[in-house]
Symmetry: C2
Amino acid sequence: MTFAEASEVRRTGAGTWMGRVAEGWDIAGNANGGYLLGIVARALTGETERPDPVSVTAHYLAPGKPGPVQVEAEVVRAGKRFSTARGLLVAEGRPVLAVLGSFADLTQLGGPAHVDGAPPTLPPVEQCVRAEPGDPMPPPFSGRVDLRMDPADAGFYEGRPSGRLRMGGWLRLPDDEPMDTLGLLLAADSFPPTIFNGTLPVAWTPTLELTVHVRRRPAPGWLRCVTTTRFVTNGFLEVDGEIWDASDQLVVQSRQLALVPRG
Amino acid sequence: MTFAEASEVRRTGAGTWMGRVAEGWDIAGNANGGYLLGIVARALTGETERPDPVSVTAHYLAPGKPGPVQVEAEVVRAGKRFSTARGLLVAEGRPVLAVLGSFADLTQLGGPAHVDGAPPTLPPVEQCVRAEPGDPMPPPFSGRVDLRMDPADAGFYEGRPSGRLRMGGWLRLPDDEPMDTLGLLLAADSFPPTIFNGTLPVAWTPTLELTVHVRRRPAPGWLRCVTTTRFVTNGFLEVDGEIWDASDQLVVQSRQLALVPRG
C-alpha cells in the first residue's frame, strides 16, 4: 500500500472528510506522526483547494490506531496566495491530532535567494544501512519508507549509540511512488528518535508537537535528510530536521517538540 | 501601559474572551505579532486553566489594528499534564490570527538534561544599542520592550547592514515589569527582521507563521536573545530564535516562517 493510498481521504460533507489509519504504519502499535499529519494535511489541501502544505503544525493528543478516522476541516481564511485551515483527526469520537496550517501552490511563488547551508554529507546510498522491520526493532513503520541510515548514526541498532544526537540518511518512497509535498510531511517524521544516539536513560520520546515548513516541491530522486537535537531540558527535547532534494534544494525545515518521560 | 495590561483578556461567555489591541504596539501601523500571540495565549491559559504556554503556533491572517478584539477559544484536549487548545483572534468580525497550542505548568516538569549550546555572547548591556522609537524607524513598538542590540548587528539602523542575517541583544520589559512565559511570546518576536542585516532588496517580511517553544519560566533579570536566518528561498525565510535567561537556562526556542515579497 502506497503512502498516497494509506493517506487517502474523501469528502463526506461540509468540512468533513473520511480516511483510514492503515495497518503497518506504526511504531510499537502507534501510527507514525508524520503519516497521521499526512492524512489531515491531505484533507486540508482538499478543503482549501491549495495543493501544497507550506507550514503545518500538529499537536498529538492520543495514539493513532488502525481503523476509520474522520477529519474535521475548517478554512479560517482564504487569501490570494495562501489559505489557512485547521483540522482535527478524530477516531472513535476521540481527538487524535489537531492541526493548523497554511497552504498554497508552491510553484507559483519565488523570490531572491540566500542560502547559508548545504545538504548533509552522506556516504553513497549503497554504503548506508537499510532499516527493515524486525522484532521488536526496527518497527513495522520502517517498511513504509525506503530509508538508508548514515552508518555513523546507525550503530544504535546494535547497542552502540554514537553519543551525538543526530540521525541522517537517504529517503525515498518504496516501489517508485513519486514524492510530493504531502509525502514530505511523512519524510519529516521518518527517522528514529535522535535520543537513540544518546547516553541518557530515555527509551521513548512521544511527540507533543511537530511543525513542518515545505519550501518547494521536491525533484524526483533520493532525499537527503538530517535530524539533530541540541537541547534536552526540563522534560523536553527538540528535533530539528532538514530535507534536501536531488537538485540540492532545501525542501523541508521541520522542528518537533518531544517529551522526555521521567525515568 | 505594561504588557500584562496591554494583553489583558476577560471571559465573556463559553469559549469567548474579550481583549483590546492597544495603541503603540505597532510596526508601521500593524501590531507586533508576538504581542497579538500574547493576547490569544493569555486567553488560552485561562480557557485551559494551565498557566504556561509550552508550544504555541500562530498563523497571521490580517494586520492587527488598535481596538477591541475577541478571542474564540476551544480546548481540544485536557490531559493530565498538558492541555491543547485552539484560538482565533477576531477584530470587527474578521480573523486576524489563528493559534494552536499546548499548555502546562512548567514548574511541574523535569527530566535529564543534555545541552549542546550556550547563551549568545553579547557585549555588556551598557555597550549595546538601545532602540527607541523614531520616525519612521525604529517603530513605536520599540518603546514597549527594553531592547539593547548587539552593536555588531545594529549598524543597519544607520544604513550599514552587517551582511550576516542575525539580530542579537539583551531584552527585558520596561518599568520593572516581571517577565513571565506569556511575556516570552512577545520577546520571541521583538527583534528587527534578520533580513535588515542582509543585502537583498527586501524591505518587508510579513510573518506567515510563528511557533514558540517555552522550555521553562525565566529567572528575573535580562534575557539574552539571538535570531538567525539561514535560508531565503522560493519567497520564504525562516527566523530561528533562542532566548536565554539570567541563570543561563534556555527558556525559548522559536521559529517563524516569513514571506519575502517579490521586488
